[in-house]
Symmetry: C2
Subunit: 226 residues, 2 copies
Amino acid sequence: MPATVPDHGSASGGYVPTERSTPTRNRERAEYDRESVHAILDEDYLCHMGYVRDGAPVVLPTLYVRVGECVYLHGSTGSRPLREADGEGLPVCVTVTRVDGLVLARSAFHHSVNYRSVVAHGLARRVTEQDELTAALDALIDNVVPGRAADSRPADARELAATAVLRLDLSEVSAKVRRGDPHDEPEDLSLPHWSGVLPVSRTYGTPVPSGDLAPDTPLPGYLAGR
Amino acid sequence: MPATVPDHGSASGGYVPTERSTPTRNRERAEYDRESVHAILDEDYLCHMGYVRDGAPVVLPTLYVRVGECVYLHGSTGSRPLREADGEGLPVCVTVTRVDGLVLARSAFHHSVNYRSVVAHGLARRVTEQDELTAALDALIDNVVPGRAADSRPADARELAATAVLRLDLSEVSAKVRRGDPHDEPEDLSLPHWSGVLPVSRTYGTPVPSGDLAPDTPLPGYLAGR
């Protein structure tokens, strides 16, 4: 564990910054309070999980859910990182990024992106206890579509055995946030170029029933409202 | 470089699969043809770049653009990975993920996500040649907002010196794609749960002018059409 960086005080109850959770640039964008970190994590369900294999980095898109002070990561028992997490734990970096806007400055240099990201470092460990595993799987589904876990057939023993879940405790974690207008140089303000922010969001379309779904099957309320 | 896997033939002109670009699960979702890989890369501008620092993985959201058979990655000269790429190259894994739909099966186990992802492995090298650097920066901006590079003040010498761009040649790269309906077990088809796909897309809102923008500044055509 790297030494903590004393000049980055954490908010009361926040995550304690370490050398690797302190950005080398745009430090003013870093946030360590739990509320900010949780809020970003709770807005998404897809992270990018990095691990090291034969000395080289591997980054895979992975479903996740935050529960309290940990994130659960979904995989199958056949996947490489999950096999490797059976022992003392797999060193991972879990990164979640929400893009909120494209920032158009008058100068090419000051173009940017409004975003909120969380980066969490630590050892991911395979969840082996059955109650925790089933609760984590329910949470993973409800994080994608709230209310869905109770409206589907639960996993049976064979399916549970074929599913692997990793847990990463939230300890060495930071958020990074950029908001608002572009920051142009004063001498550029009179240039004729439009400047501002193009908002970006994730949206959901009309649900498409399976080809094998009985036509009179009602659309569940948790989908109708989305 | 790992040995190639002979049982995964590549399409004519496609990327040659290697051991680490061959998934251990859901192999039928892997694609190696250049058209599929390029099409996914060209739909996005934010990747997750992984590298190894002090033996541990680091994953950072990073702006990128594909140009021919390479991707350019944006950073500042102060950031850690870019400093480390000054020498013989930094081993990276660049991953781009597009989420197209949430897949709701009747069983919890068969829930899934429709997505298209690209994973590229290799050595990222700092771009030092000035013409390539300026062309890469223009391409990075135009990949986020097509037409914008020509409608902004170009970087001056000081700004160019403060900007770093990495190049990763596309060689060890694969796409992975899941499309279509959930795959329920035959015995689950009579269950009462709705099944199907909830489409997901990225959308853009109404452009928000900067607080310091002259009110009569026209909205450029490349934004009005978005």
